[in-house]
């Protein structure tokens, strides 16, 4: 049952890069071990080697002190290793139980015995307090529950070492607490977990030890008791980083973006935004907190005219644009940084230079012809000013790392010179260095007097950047709080749909409404 793991001198090369350079990792039985590092530090490769996805070039893996060879996930599973991927590997139309037993076969039994499987499933689910209904369809479940399905899937295969890749990226803080208590339960049974993450708070909260990777190398392994967030940050980045922002006080100007009672439907006609009223002022960052899928994206798309507004009004700098034509709307001055960098925000097969003019292609043209020299000059300026590294402007944008691609998109939208910025999940999946750069640019835009609507699932980001935070749940605003007065717990419970009773929330809302009433 109890398994300890040791990975020794693991080397893995991909063409042109050394993904793992003599990496060492030991995980004791019954330990929660965090694996920390920036994107591209080699964490995922190391875990994929452990799960049998990649073969290492040299090095060895020992389980309970004896060397093993891993050439496929099947062998890893047989050795008691389970993995919960960042993107869940579930079949959405199948039930929870069907997903749990996917690919398993009882020797000698050609037919599926769902009844027997169901008993075992229930026992597991109860013992670990996962509260899963085996007959629920996976596609109808919230993300946090789907993740528990992944965990039970691994437990069903009797995993004694669980690898979790960025498990909290999509969870509310309540769901995160639940996940952590499940992990502690597993720990009490002597099972170990490896938590791949770059969230320091969570590491400090749950892990016993942490291993830090940088550039494919293991930099250090520390006991949590003997380290600090500052030290871990320094080890991860290789220098001191101040993610606490020094935000100058708010100089709130005129309202630039006003939306009132906006309703928006998704493609199948379900109402996703159910009457949202907001105001974003010049020089202000209004944050929108919420778990993915509660209507934030639909709201952003509606503001950008990528999706029809069913009812409600939209006023930009005092001009009602609810029914303006697309061209008129675009020229009114809005910039948008979409959540999906690779599929919406950029054309990955086109060059960096071509991507730098996306959306402004007509502005750079001279008559009916492109002014390619001007385009290139502006692309070069953008790359320089926003420090987009790692690529020539003639190479495809898809070759850029996530952080650099985001800097390219951010720079392009900022250089558009719009007064209103709609920013969605700007730092999702980015490493600390890139987050710092993106935050810095957004705050600079705030100083310039732009109105910024910041949609983010990352509370730390919202608390650091936003002046006010509106929490959405199922297409409605649960409450708007001042970032300086808000607590993570409060926002977290509103994200989960639990209204927070506080005296000042109500009057603040009524002031908003009054202001809107005057403006419209």
């Amino acid at each position: 049952m109890k398994r300890s793991l040791e990975m020794r001198d693991v080397v893995k090369r991909f063409p042109g890069v050394v993904a793992n350079d003599h990496a060492n990792l030991t995980v004791e039985a019954g330990e929660i071990h965090a694996l920390l590092g920036e994107n591209g530090a080699g964490k995922s490769t190391l875990m994929q080697i452990l799960y049998g996805f990649h073969r290492m070039d040299s090095g060895e893996i020992l389980i309970d002190g004896s060397p093993v060879t891993l050439t496929s996930s099947k062998e890893a599973i047989a050795l008691g290793i389970g993995m919960v991927h960042q993107e869940f590997m579930l079949v959405p139309p199948f039930t929870v139980l069907e997903n749990a037993i996917l690919g398993l076969r009882e020797p000698g039994h050609p037919l599926l015995d769902l009844g027997k499987a169901s008993q075992r499933f229930k026992a597991l689910s109860d013992r670990h307090q996962l509260a899963l209904d085996p007959n629920a369809e996976v596609q109808s479940l919230p993300i946090g529950v789907q993740q528990r399905v992944e965990i039970v899937k691994a437990l069903y295969r009797d995993a004694s070492l669980l690898i979790l890749d960025e498990p909290t990226a999509v969870l509310t803080s309540q769901e995160k607490d639940q996940l952590f208590s499940v992990l502690r339960g597993l720990q009490a049974e002597g099972r170990s977990s490896i938590l791949v993450t770059h969230k320091l708070n969570e590491i400090m909260e749950i892990a016993d030890r942490v291993t830090v990777m940088r550039d494919g190398k293991v930099i250090a392994t520390r006991a949590i008791r003997a380290t600090s967030k500052q030290e871990l940050t320094r080890l991860t980045v290789g220098r001191d980083v101040n993610l606490r922002t020094n935000k100058p006080p708010l100089e709130r100007g005129k309202p630039l973006l006003q939306i009132s009672d906006v309703r928006v439907c998704d493609d199948s006609g379900n109402e996703k935004v159910r009457g949202i009223t907001l105001e974003v002022h010049a020089g202000e960052i209004l944050g929108i907190a919420g778990v993915d899928g509660n209507g934030q994206s639909h709201l952003a798309e509606a503001i950008m005219r990528l999706r029809a507004i069913k009812s409600g009004r939209l006023v930009l700098a005092g001009v009602d644009l609810t029914s303006a034509s697309l061209t008129r709307y675009r020229s009114a001055g809005l910039a948008y940084i979409p959540a999906d960098r690779r599929n919406v925000g950029s054309v990955t097969k086109m060059s960096v230079a071509d991507n730098a003019i996306l959306g402004s292609q007509r502005k750079y043209a001279r008559g009916i012809f492109r002014d390619i020299r001007r385009e290139r000059a502006s692309a070069a300026a953008l790359v320089k000013r926003f420090d987009v590294r790692g690529s020539d402007i003639d190479l495809p944008a898809g070759k850029l790392s996530g952080g650099n691609l985001q800097k390219l998109i951010l720079g392009r939208e900022i250089m558009r010179g719009s007064n209103v910025l709609v920013v969605e999940q700007p730092t999702r999946g980015l490493d600390i260095g890139a987050i710092e750069a993106v935050w810095h640019e957004l705050l600079r835009e705030r100083q310039e007097g732009k109105a910024i609507l910041l949609i983010s699932a990352d509370l730390e980001e919202l608390l650091n950047l936003a002046d006010r935070i509106a929490v959405v749940f199922e297409g409605r605003i649960m409450g708007i709080v001042n970032a300086t007065e808000a607590s993570v717990e409060e926002i977290g419970s509103m994200m989960a749909g639990i209204p927070v009773e506080r005296d000042w929330v109500a009057p603040r809302l009524s002031i908003e409404e009054k202001a809107n009433g005057e403006a419209f």
């Binding site: 063409p15 925000g345 054309v347 007509r362 043209a365």
Partner: protein, 373 residues
């Protein structure tokens, strides 16, 4: 351990690399096709001599190659415009006959005693170009509208529309436009409406110049105009296009219109330059060979010109080969199709680095930089 082929992170995509793999694919196609000659008891070298000698080593044959190449090039250009905009349009047979019919009808109207009377050629030419282009554009544009607005499948619709076009042509030449006589064809078009011949001693006509001009225009459109940029963005990624404020529906419709127009010009060139009358079966598959030409040219509007000339020449050579060596000309079509298949598959070679040194056991250039896949 050094391996003979080492995987690259990015494909080698310099002009030389692309040309090298394409040439390799073509030689491979020639090699495979030679087995067909051998199995028939022919000497492949003689067969290939017959295939390539006439179109590329005799003046008259070269003129014929040019005549065959111009509609292929125009259809290839139409393919490029639509495919690069993300519209997999396959209806060029239909566009070709629509363009041919439109041009013939207008030309017949200028016969003495008809509505337009004897129209001077310099008035007739721009008129017929616009008219054919618009007719083909509307024909294909309808498919674009169905795809872009209603979400229909353009592959099926455009493929099926070919039959509608071909049967419409049959109706025209056996009904309203039929010349007295037994064959389903029109009377010969007035000589005033023929495209002028441009190479003395050959049948090469001004359609060649039109194809060259069209290639230049398509190149400028895609490379130098914001409109072309928007078409390409639409083709790569419709969501990003919408995000950038590009009207995706409008762009797809426009791409279909251009493509259909170019396909129709191919039909116009064929009737006014070469056949001089409209007849049943006039398209004979050029609508598909043109797509092959575009694929072989990797959807590059400049590369379409030599590729079209190669394929046009091969079809001229095929006839000569059948006449002289009694080898079925359909083998040429096998060769042409094989070449495309192999070009598409040899593309994978550009993802590998060739290390002949591994053959004689030398160490790779940088120690330890061997491959792992």
């Amino acid at each position: 351990m050094a391996k003979l082929f080492e995987r690259r992170v990015t494909p080698a995509d310099s002009l030389l690399d692309v040309a090298a793999t394409t040439t390799l694919a073509f030689l491979l196609a020639l090699l495979i096709t030679s087995f067909l000659f051998i199995s028939d008891g022919n000497n492949p070298l003689q067969a290939y001599f017959a295939l390539f000698h006439e179109p590329f080593a005799t003046l008259r044959g070269f003129g014929n190659a040019l005549v065959r190449a111009s509609p292929l090039a125009l259809i290839g250009l139409g393919t490029i415009v639509s495919w690069r905009s993300g519209l997999a349009y396959l209806g060029f047979e239909g566009c070709f006959v629509i363009g041919a019919a439109a041009a013939s009808w207008l030309a017949l109207l200028t016969s003495p005693g008809q509505a337009l009377g004897p129209l001077p050629f310099f008035v007739f030419l721009p008129l017929v170009i616009l008219f054919s282009f618009a007719a083909g554009g509307a024909w294909a544009g309808a498919v674009g509208v169905i795809r872009a607005r209603l979400g229909g499948n353009e592959v099926l619709i455009s493929l099926m529309s070919n039959y509608v076009g071909i049967f419409f042509l049959q109706y025209l030449v056996s009904g309203p436009l039929r010349a007295p006589g037994s064959l389903p064809e029109t009377v010969q078009l007035p000589q005033r409406t023929w495209l002028p011949f441009i190479l003395p001693g050959t049948r090469a006509h001004a359609g060649v110049l039109l194809a060259l001009l069209a290639a230049a225009i398509v190149w400028v459109l895609l490379k130098k105009m914001p409109l072309g940029y928007e078409l390409i963005v639409t083709g790569f990624n419709p969501s990003a296009a919408r995000y950038a404020g590009i009207d995706v529906v409008g762009k797809l419709t426009l791409a279909a219109f251009f493509a259909g127009g170019l396909g129709a010009l191919a039909g116009m060139v064929e009737v006014l330059g070469s056949q001089h009358r409209l007849m049943d079966g006039i398209s004979g598959g050029v609508g598909f060979v043109g797509i092959i030409v575009a694929l072989l040219a990797r959807l590059n509007p400049i590369a379409v010109i030599p590729t079209a000339l190669l394929y046009g020449g091969m079809s001229v050579g095929a006839d000569a080969m059948q006449r002289r060596a009694n080898i079925p000309s359909s083998i040429t079509f096998i060769l042409q199709s094989l070449a495309v298949l192999l070009v598409l598959t040899t593309d994978v070679l550009r993802y590998y680095r060739f290390r002949p040194s591994a053959l004689w056991g030398d160490k790779p250039l940088t120690a330890g930089e061997g491959t792992n896949r």
